[in-house]
């Protein structure tokens, strides 16, 4: 994939001349840096790369990438991007969206892009709040969340973004967070290598309206005991010296256990390539998965690639029909088309 000429791009080649306008300290900066640092490694050219976004803080992202880009309509980025990807399978198309953009106003477009498996890399910045409109609860905000629009606490049951994506049978589903550039880059790299829709939830801190939303899991002090790093083919263990792990109980439910109590052999091996998404779904619901709970009851939360399976991508299938039509009928001949319903001659 990488050819010498292409790999010569540097981070600078991917950085636009626009002044970045997120609040100081916003998690979005870290994500932008991770993407701009990764791009030269991917062996792709800026001119063949397109970033499409909706509306919201995260959706300013395309302005900062020196690629082709479109800052679209609230919720509609997957639809706009589907048009780009289907029209031009030669392009590398990224979608940048947020929890409100992708899961509320644009929920329909997101699930349909995923089910079609359009060749898109979708980065969902989940900060569990509406930032740009100054702090209303979002579709991922926890029950009871007090915001300007919910002074008595939210009564809306939240979405679990990964469970939703898996429900739509997305072929690549992963989670990362804004504080770990290396983990983000590894995850984005794997997503980019995947043909079809890649969906990545990025836990992102909004330090102005929802500061510390993920501290219970991703802060330096908590990480070791609270983050479960998923690796394909390896037992799902975490904590100091891997003392904890995940097993499947007799009832089919996943549980967090002390490895010493159940024995290392009992620990579940992660299989991201399983076609059946039910295990990935169970992992998605392991803790943050149950986002109905309040922040104070976070449980250890899986990160990394949950699912990565091969499924024909939409853009290729559309192109294949296109090629098939030409090979069957020959390239279109307008004169013939106009006569195709039968004609008669008037002299």
């Amino acid at each position: 994939m990488t050819d010498a000429a292409v790999s010569l791009t540097t981070k600078k080649d991917w950085t636009s001349d626009q002044e970045v306008r997120w609040c100081p300290g916003c998690g979005d900066y870290g994500i932008l840096l991770a993407v701009q640092t990764l791009m030269p490694e991917l062996g792709v050219k800026p001119e063949n790369t397109v970033f499409i976004s909706g509306i919201g803080c995260s959706s300013r992202f395309p302005y900062y990438m020196n690629t082709y880009g479109m800052h679209g309509i609230h919720g509609r980025a997957p639809a706009l991007a589907t048009g780009v990807a289907v029209a031009r399978p030669d392009l590398d198309v990224w979608v940048v969206t947020g929890d409100g953009d992708a899961l509320s106003i644009g929920g329909n477009h997101l699930i349909h892009a995923l089910r079609r498996n359009v060749n898109l890399t979708i980065l969902l910045f989940n900060n569990r709040i509406y930032g740009l409109t100054k702090g209303q609860y979002s579709p991922t905000s926890e029950l009871g969340k007090v915001t300007k629009s919910t002074p008595m606490g939210s009564v809306d049951h939240p979405f679990n973004p990964l469970a939703l994506a898996l429900g739509a049978e997305a072929s690549f589903v992963a989670r990362t967070h804004d504080l770990d550039r290396k983990h983000m880059m590894d995850t984005f790299r794997a997503a980019h290598a995947h043909r079809g829709s890649s969906f990545i939830e990025i836990l992102q801190n909004c330090n102005v309206f929802n500061d510390g939303a993920f501290d219970e899991v991703t802060s330096r002090q908590k990480r070791e005991e609270m983050m479960i790093d998923l690796h394909h083919g390896e037992p799902i263990r975490f904590g100091k010296d891997g003392h904890a792990g995940v097993i499947m109980g007799d009832d089919g439910q996943l549980r967090i256990v002390e490895v010493a109590e159940v024995g290392a052999d009992a620990i579940l091996k992660h299989d991201a390539h399983r076609n059946d998404p039910s295990l990935a779904f169970a992992l998605a619901r392991l803790s943050n998965g149950d986002s109905a709970t309040s922040q104070s009851t976070w449980l250890p939360t899986p990160f990394g690639v949950f699912r990565d399976v091969v499924r024909a991508d939409y853009s290729s299938m559309v192109s294949a029909q296109f090629t098939e039509a030409v090979s069957k009928k020959g390239p279109g001949d307008l004169k013939k088309l106009l006569k195709s319903a039968g004609t008669w001659q008037v002299n």
Binding site: I55, Y63, N66, R76, G83, R88, L334
Partner: protein, 654 residues
């Protein structure tokens, strides 16, 4: 026409052999009487195959060389309860030996398959017209279902019509008995019996229909039953005395050339294929199923070998979004819909206005608001097309006036969109979309070149001396911005819905810049007026009264204007294809008339626009019944504007 009264034809139940003896009458009958035009209406239950029957009669007539115009009229329900008035499906066609534009006001012949069809459509038959009835369905149960307390075939209520009762179901079952198929299957072919009968009555050559049955029906039994039913109907006409002789409508004197019979949606789909070829761009259609626009999606999906991509989107919004995404990527982006879908696509249109990218939105208008009358026609989306976006978001609007015109008009819409980098709304309606007419095929080589040049090089030198690309550096003449598509090295740029600086395209919220951009976008659209044909007067330029029309009212206005002028009155007519911007000379022309009347299938949307634009005292003539104007209605409207009243009730050419 012959007067045939209440022939109850028991004798034919014994089938044709016994009737061969009647050769003396047959010979007499076989010389067809030549008539110049006829309007035939087929009406039956939704399940009776009336659209198919009408379509076939039309095709055979088209192949024969008649001029024609059709009007399919069917319910919104796929199968409303059988035998009810709500479930009646009709197809009207006028065939003629001279140039015609309408399917006729009232029909000369009405074929009804059941009492519901009689009740629904008897008012569409001229006084003294020929009414052909499937007598088998006029039994008590069917009559009561629609509320006939007495049998209209017997109570004298049809005395003003020439009624021919034919037991079509029985005859069809008999004619197909030897094929060994179930009576239920045979019964379903009764529409082919009716088609055969009418084909004989109007001397339509049988071959084209027989060939069509052969190719259309894959199942051998179905093919055989339909063929037998069609032939039986044809022979029935020939061998019974119900009709004393057939008629013929000679081929029309149309300009020499090769013709096809075309519906509006077909012409539109082919026009899009042509526009892609003429623009040298792939076509991308994003569409969501909606009546009466879905046929465009169907037809384009069949033509992928023309570099056409179609996506059936998850909703109307996505369909528009995909089209705009494809446009950003360098395709001719198109989305097709009807009124409710246009409402949903409004935000995407606004983004397209802001991005200044070419895109086509096709609106096949139907009765509304909301779901309204999904299968019936109306032209009441001009307001939303013109004004239905937030903020200042003007865009061009092009409207087709007849089925075949959709082909040229969509190419014109594409030309404007591509040249001016703007979304364009294209208006058609249910009447144009489903109606058909003969179309002289255009010389493909003479179609306009609408190709565009993508930007491939830097277009500006920055202060520091470096070469850069400015996505909003406009062409000084058209005010269109350059179009650089992904994949072009060096020209990477970002576009978006936020206000941008003219030239650089960088985000810019400054007050003066916003006003400048609002005015530039408006000036760009207004400037298109100098790039479209001037409005032209048809008829008498020195008349007192001018008809101003747009869209599908064309056919009825055309007939009404011709008749009025044949009566010796002066009338002028201007028909608009470009509704935004309007032709630059329109105001001046309209101000030259004492009266301007605007027939519209709405409550006066164009009328209000021309009053506001030009301060002329235009008056609307409205119709909102889900039906097109009849030419008589407009003839009478013109008559009253002229102060001359006429009593043309039947819509007959005089």
């Amino acid at each position: 026409m012959p007067l045939v009264l209440r022939c109850v034809c028991e004798e034919v139940l014994s089938n044709s052999p016994g009737l061969i003896d009647m050769t003396d009458t047959v010979e007499n009958k076989s010389a067809p009487e030549t008539i110049s035009r006829v309007v035939v209406r087929f009406a039956g239950d939704s399940g009776d195959g009336m659209q198919l029957t009408g379509d076939r009669f039309t095709s055979a007539s088209a192949m024969f060389g008649n001029d024609l115009s059709t009007f399919p009229d069917f319910p919104a329900e796929i199968r409303a309860p059988a035998g009810t008035v709500n479930g009646v499906s009709s197809f009207q066609v006028q065939i003629s030996e001279h140039d015609i534009t309408t399917p006729g006001d009232n029909s000369n012949v009405l074929v009804v398959m059941n009492p519901a069809a009689l009740m629904a459509d008897i008012d569409r038959l001229e006084q003294g017209g020929l009414l052909i009835v499937n007598r088998d369905n006029f039994v008590e149960r069917d009559l009561l279902k629609v509320g006939y307390e007495t049998n209209p075939l017997e109570d004298g209520s049809l005395a003003n019509y020439r009624v021919v009762e034919v037991p079509m179901t029985t005859l069809t079952i008999q004619a197909t008995a030897s094929l060994g198929v179930k009576p239920r299957m045979a019964e379903r072919s009764k529409n082919f019996f009716a088609l055969g009968m009418i084909s004989w009555l109007y001397s339509r050559p049988r071959e084209s229909t027989l060939d069509w049955i052969k190719s259309r029906f894959k199942d051998e039994d179905v093919r055989n039953v339909n063929t037998a039913a069609f032939n039986a109907g044809f022979h029935f006409g020939e061998t019974t005395e119900l009709f004393d002789h057939p008629f013929q409508v000679l081929p029309a004197h149309m300009p020499a050339g090769e013709y096809t019979n075309i519906t509006g949606n077909m012409a539109l789909a082919w026009g899009l294929v042509a526009a892609g070829q003429l623009a040298k761009l792939p076509v991308f259609l994003g569409s969501y199923p909606i009546t009466p626009a879905s046929d465009i999606l169907h037809e384009l999906s069949k033509n992928k070998n023309f570099a056409v991509r179609t996506v059936q989107a998850e909703d109307e919004i996505a369909a528009a979004g995909m089209a705009l995404g494809a446009a950003f990527a360098g395709h001719l982006g198109v989305t097709a819909t009807s009124g409710p879908g246009l409402a949903l696509k409004s935000e995407t249109l606004s983004l397209a206005v802001s991005l200044e990218l070419p895109m086509l939105l096709i609106d096949i208008q139907r009765g509304g608001p909301s779901t309204g009358l999904p299968t019936k026609t109306e032209a009441a989306d001009l307001n939303i097309a013109m004004f239905g976006r937030h903020a200042e978001a003007p865009l061009p609007i092009v409207a087709a006036y007849s089925p075949h015109h959709c082909f040229d008009a969509i190419i014109e819409a594409a030309r404007i969109a591509l040249k001016y980098r703007t979304p364009v709304i294209f208006l058609s309606d249910g009447y144009i979309a489903n109606g058909s007419e003969p179309w002289k095929l255009p010389d493909v080589a003479s179609l306009p070149d609408i190709s565009v040049d993508f930007q491939t090089e830097f277009n500006h030198v920055a202060k520091d001396g470096s070469n850069v690309y400015w996505p909003y550096l406009r062409d000084p003449k058209t005010l269109a911005r350059p179009w650089a598509i992904p994949g072009t090295p060096g020209l990477m740029h970002r576009v978006g819905g936020l206000e941008k600086q003219d030239g650089t395209g960088d985000i810019d919220y400054t007050p003066i810049n916003h006003e400048k951009m609002v005015r530039l976008r408006a000036a760009k659209i207004a400037g298109i007026a100098s790039d479209i044909p001037l409005a032209e007067i048809v008829g008498d330029a020195d008349a007192d009264v001018c008809i101003l029309g747009w869209g599908s009212t064309w056919a009825a206005i055309d007939a009404a204007v011709q008749r009025t002028r044949r009566r010796g009155h002066k009338v002028a007519w201007i028909h608009l294809m470009h509704l935004s911007p309007l032709p630059p000379n329109l105001g001046e022309l309209l101000r030259g008339f004492k009266k301007v009347i605007v027939p519209e299938l709405n409550l006066g949307q164009l009328c209000r626009i021309v009053r506001a634009e030009y301060l002329v005292d235009a008056q609307v003539v409205s119709k909102v019944q889900g039906l097109p104007f009849t030419s008589t209605e407009l003839e009478n409207a013109i008559g009253s504007a002229l102060g001359v009243f006429n009593t043309n009730q039947n819509g007959v050419d005089q």
